[in-house]
């Protein structure tokens, strides 16, 4: 498989924008949401559910995050980062297994 196919390049551009471009949440918060690692309560619960069990998210999870001072735009960004982060890990895990199976790893 070409190392630099357009699908992977488009995915990298998305990841780079949400983590490193301008945002209303800090770059540190966005990185922690992307990795589902190291966010303080109550955001850790909300972001953890996006990454692992999104169907279990409730209005109360968003209400708790708002009450802790998060704006709607910050929540929008952090939820996006958490979702893209989880699917990026899937993509990378799949590509790594493929590389191993084809002797490329």
């Amino acid at each position: 498989m070409p190392e630099d196919d357009k699908k992977r390049a488009a995915h990298r551009a998305l990841v780079d924008r949400i983590l490193n471009g301008a945002g209303q949440a800090t770059a540190g918060q966005r990185a922690r949401a992307f990795g589902n690692d190291g966010l303080a309560p109550p955001l850790d619960v909300l972001i953890g559910k996006v990454a692992t069990s999104p169907a279990q998210l409730t209005e109360a999870d968003f209400a708790a995050a708002r009450a802790a001072g998060c704006t709607e735009d910050q929540l929008f960004e952090l939820v996006v980062c958490a979702a893209v982060g989880r699917s990026s890990r899937l993509y990378e895990a799949g590509l790594a297994a493929l590389a191993e199976a084809t002797g490329g790893a």
Partner: protein, 193 residues
């Protein structure tokens, strides 16, 4: 949707566009479409580009096969909005709704070619468990799938795992069957850009 900005936070030009779409299609603008219009510079513009490349870019998989993969990943994630949207799109693309229904009901007995069946099986494992082994991948390759096709399928999986999560998190409203059919027609005519 759960965030008020996703219900009402659009620019006047975008609101006008939504009104025109609703007038022309006689269906509400699906929440998946609304989401990518909110601050498109943050998420929507690049998400659309990636999804379009995965679903409509060059690939040995047909558009119908890739729409079926999107439906299948969404079914594993139990996301009703995306299952509805991509079941309708795959059904229209194949012009074979029973085939799509059979895959979602029981992949092992569904009337599909072995490379596609093995690829869907692997995507199901990856989506449900978060990982796949090299042995899983060797089984997909042994079924006759090329490494490039596996990579292309992984891109579809990444795009729709993201959308499934956002649909659940933001609370996308499930459309009527007519709404999903109208959306499917749009996606087959215009793609994801």
């Amino acid at each position: 949707m759960r965030l008020e900005i996703l219900n009402h936070g659009y620019r006047p030009g975008t609101k006008l566009l939504f009104a025109i779409i609703k007038l022309v299609t006689r269906q509400p603008v699906p929440d998946a479409a609304r989401l990518v219009f909110y601050r498109p510079d943050f998420y929507g513009a690049r998400a659309k580009e990636f999804t379009h490349e995965a679903m409509r870019g060059p690939s040995a998989w047909s558009v119908a096969d890739r729409e079926l993969m999107a439906a299948y990943v969404s079914a594993v994630n139990e996301n009703a909005f995306c299952v509805g949207a991509h079941t309708a799109t795959a059904s229209q693309a194949y012009q074979d709704a029973p085939k799509v229904a059979a895959v979602l009901a029981d992949l092992e007995t569904a009337p599909v070619e072995e490379p596609l069946r093995a690829t869907l099986r692997m995507l199901g494992t990856l989506t449900a468990e978060g990982s796949v082994s090299a042995a899983d991948m060797r089984a997909v390759l042994a079924a006759g799938t090329s490494p490039q096709q596996v990579g292309d399928a992984l891109a579809v999986c990444a795009a729709f795992d993201t959308t499934n999560r956002l649909a659940d998190a933001f609370g996308f409203e499930v459309l009527s069957p007519e709404g999903f059919e109208a959306g499917a027609k749009y996606l087959l005519n215009r793609g994801y850009r």
